[in-house]
């Protein structure tokens, strides 16, 4: 069974059969055989339809995005709360706390306190709380690892709910799908990490160490500087290539219910070189990043100690997180749309 989404020139992915679990399993087997042997012929995905599919999903999955943002918030708070409890006692009851919040009064300015965090006081706080700050770095590391694992849940959730074609993407279904595909998504993530690591070894160790001696002996310092930039540039390109490949692989695994992450990733590496997946990721990822940069102008203007300012600042950061995840959801589901039509 398939539906046609209003305004789309290509059909959406099939809705799962409302059959008993055992039968669905059988169907999947049959579908799997069909895909391997006789792929279903669909219209080729255009860039427009791919982007449209991704962006539509991102819009209709706002509940899920809210849920993801809350998860990010919860994870971040585990580090931020100790951070705040460490710095607040040094600042909140300081006679010039208002100046540090950006609203100096006459008393502050008379003594030379200007708007903004005092650079010397901030250094003293960091020195006084050095042990706490070191602990925060370690905590941030492990929280980032958990966030990475959660990313596999989220990828499975986005793709699973998108491929199932449900018009209303609920958090329950998202979590269910995330759990269902977690292993596959994680395996792809690990393969990406290995590729990232190897690329780093090749670029920053083998390549860099081979040419660096000549670069640093060149007459101009610019030779070495540009050498570093070229290697960084190449590494960034490799990073995005691997990342798109990993997302194509994830889409492949979900759309076709495959389990072979290794094969999917290597297929993804090849397919990621096609124009449409590249442009899909670029067309969504780049504007999203530019929006994040643009938000810095908003946060830069939010200065003061009123609750309106602080709440606005909080909301802008949550909006930024939502944009990052929305773009993630849109890229993944856009690529799923592409993969579905380019088996």
């Amino acid at each position: 069974m398939s539906t046609k989404d209003p305004g789309m020139d290509t059909p959406l992915a099939p809705v799962p059969d409302p059959e008993p679990k055992s039968k669905r399993k059988g169907n999947r087997k049959r579908r799997g055989r069909k895909q391997r042997g006789q792929p279903e012929v669909r219209d080729a995905a255009s860039l427009r339809s791919t982007l449209g599919a991704g962006l539509r999903y991102a819009l209709r999955s706002w509940r899920v995005l809210l849920f993801v943002v809350l998860i990010q918030l919860a994870l971040a708070l585990t580090v931020v709360m100790p951070f705040w409890t460490a710095v607040a006692p040094h600042i909140d009851n300081h006679p010039h706390a208002a100046a540090m919040a950006g609203t100096p009064d006459a008393h502050d300015t008379a003594l030379g306190w200007e708007a903004g965090m005092h650079p010397g006081l901030w250094r003293d706080i960091k020195r006084e709380e050095a042990t706490t700050f070191e602990g925060l770095t370690a905590a941030h590391f492990w929280i980032a690892v958990i966030a990475w694992l959660f990313g596999s849940v989220a990828a499975g959730g986005f793709l699973g709910t998108a491929v199932s074609g449900e018009s209303k993407v609920t958090v329950g279904r998202f979590v269910h799908m995330g759990g269902k595909y977690f292993g596959r998504m994680l395996r792809v993530g690990l393969l990406f990490a290995i590729a990232y690591y190897l690329a780093g070894r090749i670029v920053f160790e083998a390549w860099a160490l081979s040419v660096k001696p000549d670069e640093i002996q060149a007459a101009s310092e610019s030779t070495s500087w540009w050498g570093d930039r070229i290697r960084e540039g190449v590494f960034v390109l490799l990073f995005f290539w691997f990342r798109i490949a990993a997302d194509v692989a994830r889409a492949d695994l979900v759309v076709y219910s495959r389990t072979g992450a290794f094969r999917a990733f290597f297929r993804g590496l090849w397919r990621a070189l096609s124009l449409k997946p590249l442009l899909t990721a670029l067309s969504i990822g780049l504007p999203a990043f530019l929006i994040l940069l643009a938000l810095s102008f908003v946060t830069g203007s939010l200065v003061g100690d009123s609750w309106v300012v602080l709440l606005s600042l909080f909301l802008v950061f949550q909006l930024a997180v939502a944009i990052r995840w929305a773009s993630r959801a849109a890229v993944l589901t856009g690529l799923a749309h592409y993969v579905e039509r380019h088996p």
């Binding site: 971040a76 919040a101 590391f141 690892v145 070894r201 101009s220 100690d305 990052r324």
Partner: protein, 823 residues
């Protein structure tokens, strides 16, 4: 006139004689700057560089004058290059073979061999096969940095002797600011000739007599020598044609750019300079040489000149500066930074000229060392300084300006005021750091922190250190992961057959034999930019000025030594040497200035620099000048202050312990309170040992502000003060009794020591107004404050700033985590 009238007139005249001088600006001790040194030495050198062997072959004629009243029967000369001869020298032992991140390479060692030394018209007494070295500092018999040459005939008191000598200097790969770089494309030629020590009168074991002040080259020390004149001819290979810079002024030899082409294609340049105590030169194939004129009329600051002249009580014209020709020897890739170099150097020439006396030499050479010889950067020689910059520099950071201004500052504190860098490093480095900070604060906006992404700066800073999962996985705080990803795990690479073939095909000559499984792996900066979106999430901390920067850098280190009274190699650690030679003395000078006031401090520094221009002052000389000027300016005897600031190992940290406000008990009735009357108490604490008079500023809820002075010898711990009910009045009260009218003048009012200042004092207030805030040192006099977080306390909480910080951190972590979630 009646007898009574005469008595009255006489009395009035007597009073006027006492009062009028105190109303006038303190007269300068000597209005004119000395223009000449005593010229102890006169050195003529002919040097020839062999770039291939990195050797300099030189012949010299040294005329030395014994300006003491005792004859001398031996000469002692510094042979500093021998510090880089091997790992056994005192310098190498003390530095453990490293300097500013550079590791000594024994394969590119440097040394100086004195080949001959004979007195003109006298007998040869020096046998190059049997040199005698002095190593009295540490008894290290392997150290060859001071040579002793006996004289058959002593040089009589007031007499002169001329010596003819020759030597060979082998330059090391640049190390500790001298040597070659770029495979011989760049030479920084410093500490390259036998330089006489200083024959001077000292007190030894209670007896005053003349001795050689000629120390070995130590890891933490610099130099000390007599003034004189140098006339140096430098011959360089053809590749260095017109690419030579040197101390002093070039003498025109008739060829292009004042040089002379020799028959063998080499070029000779002759430089002369007078009233200096060292000579250095440089040549680099890549140099882009730009000649710019500092014109006093154009590049000076008339407003500042007039201000300083007024403070000194002299006509403005007395502070006129001289024009200076400045040669910038830049690397071509730094050509776009010429403007930054020019501004920094010109501002330094101008401001330091007003503050410490004009720069008297007609030329200044500013060297931007080759990037293959960074160890040559950041160094001063008479009329020649080396800076150092990078391909890309941040606009809002004062680099390279800071180092350029600092090295120029050494033209005053080291060059013109020739203190002994071995024994009193703070007198040149500390005063120079102070001077650098003054120029930076006058001419620049301060230093804004930045993170570097892909070779470009982004202003702001991370809430705390976190360079990414890959980088942090190697951190000490993650022992298991850190061990796994340690740099020690390496695998074969360059010798693997396929790699060798590929390398050969690509004409790569340096494929590493082993590559690390994790080394050099960490922050990939462009990706970090994508990950954390720094403009959005990083903390925006305003620029810090030099005063604050030096304060917190000083506070980062535990105190272990006094500033004065240690030889450079006698500090607990190298870091202790650095702290006590650079930033702590600078902060101490600022604190001194905060106490005595800007005008008195200006006079102290200027008079000190004038009095000891071309001299060799000791710390006591500076203290004497400071005390003399302070007394003249009505600040009283500040010996106690100078002792605390420069001769103490104690730290300084005052602050507010707590504020307690409660309804006042109704007098005479227990368990009852007066609802409109409050009792406030403010606990003021001295957290560290140093005792100081401390301002305490109290703010009341009715707007009243009162300031108190907690005297440094006040032993009382409890003070009760009635609250004023006059809003908006700054009511300065000396805690003990008298009001103190102005901040800078309070020194004179301090009573002689009565005892030890208590570690705390509690101020009690009773009245309708409640205390809402209290802070120590509100006018920020104490640049030595080790902790500003405890300086003040307010009963009114304002969480705006801390919440802003936390929200930034929240956004930073959330966005970073979201990035990782997408991988």
């Amino acid at each position: 006139m009646t007898r009574r009238g005469l008595v009255v007139l006489w009395g009035l005249l007597a009073v006027a004689a006492h009062v009028v001088p105190s109303l006038l600006p303190a007269p300068a001790a000597r209005a004119d700057l000395p223009t000449e040194s005593k010229r102890t030495i006169d050195y003529k050198i002919e040097a020839r560089l062999d770039a291939k062997t990195r050797e300099i072959h030189a012949e010299g004629r040294l005329t030395w004058e014994n300006q003491t009243d005792e004859p001398v029967n031996e000469m002692r000369l510094h042979l500093y290059l021998n510090a880089f001869k091997n790992s056994a020298s005192t310098f190498m032992r003390e530095r453990k073979g490293t300097h500013r991140g550079n590791r000594f390479d024994p394969r590119s060692a440097g040394q100086i061999d004195l080949l001959s030394f004979r007195r003109k018209g006298g007998d040869k007494v020096f046998d190059p096969e049997k040199p005698v070295f002095w190593h009295g500092d540490d008894g290290n018999e392997d150290d060859q940095t001071v040579i002793v040459i006996p004289l058959l005939t002593p040089v009589a008191a007031g007499g002169k002797a001329t010596f003819e000598l020759s030597w060979k200097s082998k330059m090391p790969r640049v190390f500790a600011r001298t040597g070659f770089g770029g495979d011989g494309a760049f030479f920084m030629v410093a500490q390259w000739f036998p330089k006489p020590g200083v024959w001077q009168k000292e007190t030894v074991d209670g007896e005053e007599k003349c001795v050689w002040n000629c120390h070995q080259f130590h890891g933490n020390s610099e130099f000390y020598a007599n003034y004189g004149s140098y006339d140096v001819s430098i011959t360089v290979p053809p590749q260095f044609k017109h690419k030579v810079g040197a101390s002093g002024k070039r003498v025109d030899l008739g060829g292009e750019k004042g040089g002379r082409e020799n028959a063998d294609g080499t070029w000779t340049y002759r430089h002369t300079v007078e009233h200096v105590h060292d000579f250095a030169w440089v040549c680099g194939e890549e140099f882009m040489i730009v000649e710019e004129d500092f014109k006093a009329a154009e590049h000076g600051d008339p407003e500042e000149q007039a201000r300083i002249a007024k403070i000194l009580g002299r006509p403005t014209s007395a502070l006129d500066l001289d024009d200076v020709t400045v040669y910038f020897l830049l690397q071509p890739e730094h050509a776009d930074q010429l403007g930054r170099h020019r501004k920094a150097v010109f501002r330094a020439i101008a401001y330091m000229g007003y503050w410490f006396g004009k720069y008297p030499y007609p030329t200044l050479t500013v060297v931007d060392p080759d990037h293959r010889a960074r160890g040559a950067g950041g160094m001063e020689y008479p009329t020649l300084i080396t800076g150092g910059t990078r391909y890309i520099r941040a606009e809002k950071q004062t680099s390279p300006e800071g180092v350029l201004i600092h090295e120029f500052g050494h033209q005053h504190f080291y060059g013109l005021v020739g203190s002994n860098e071995f024994r009193h490093a703070w007198m040149d480095e500390g005063m120079c750091t102070y001077a650098t900070g003054k120029v930076l604060m006058k001419a620049y906006d301060g230093w804004t922190n930045a993170q570097w992404y892909g070779g470009f700066p982004v202003y702001g800073e991370r809430p705390f250190d976190f360079a990414g999962i890959a980088a942090e996985s190697r951190g000490d705080s993650l022992p298991l992961v850190g061990w796994l990803f340690d740099d020690k795990w390496k695998v074969p690479f360059g010798d693997v057959g396929i790699v060798r073939s590929i390398a050969k095909g690509l004409e790569v000559n340096h494929a590493p034999k082993m590559i690390s499984l994790w080394g050099q792996y960490g922050e990939i900066s462009p990706l970090a930019f994508v990950r954390e979106v720094p403009p959005l999430t990083h903390l925006s901390v305003p620029a810090a000025d030099a005063k604050e920067y030096e304060r917190w850098r000083t506070a980062e280190y535990d105190l272990s030594d006094p500033i004065a009274g240690r030889r450079a190699w006698e500090y607990m650690t190298r870091r202790a040497y650095a702290t006590n030679s650079y930033r702590r003395p600078s902060s101490s000078l600022r604190t001194l200035g905060g106490f005595v006031g800007d005008e008195t401090m200006t006079r102290i520094m200027r008079i000190y620099c004038e009095r000891y221009r071309f001299g060799h002052p000791e710390p006591e000389d500076f203290f004497a000048v400071a005390n003399e000027i302070a007394k003249k300016d009505g600040k009283g005897d500040i010996t106690w202050l100078l002792d605390s600031l420069f001769q103490s190992e104690e730290g300084l940290d005052f602050g507010i312990g707590e504020i307690d406000v409660r309804p006042a008990p109704r007098l005479g009735k227990k368990a009852d309170v007066e609802p409109t009357i409050h009792e406030s108490s403010v606990l003021v604490r001295r957290f560290e040992a140093m005792r100081m008079p401390m301002d305490v500023r109290i703010r009341f809820d009715d707007g009243t502000i009162r300031e108190f002075l907690w005297d440094r010898d006040d032993t009382v711990r409890e003070w009760s003060v009635a609250t004023t009910d006059t809003p908006g009045v700054v009511n300065r009260v000396m805690l003990s009794e008298d009001p103190v009218p102005m901040h800078g003048d309070k020194l004179a009012r301090l009573t002689p020591a009565r005892g030890q200042q208590a570690r705390w004092v509690r101020l009690r207030f009773r009245g309708p107004a409640k205390v809402v805030a209290a802070e120590t040192d509100p006018h920020y006099v104490f640049s030595l404050d080790r902790n500003r977080t405890n300086d003040g306390h307010s009963t009114q909480r304002n969480a705006g700033a801390s919440v802003q910080l936390a929200l930034r951190a929240l956004g930073w972590i959330e966005l970073s985590n979201s990035f990782y979630g997408g991988l």
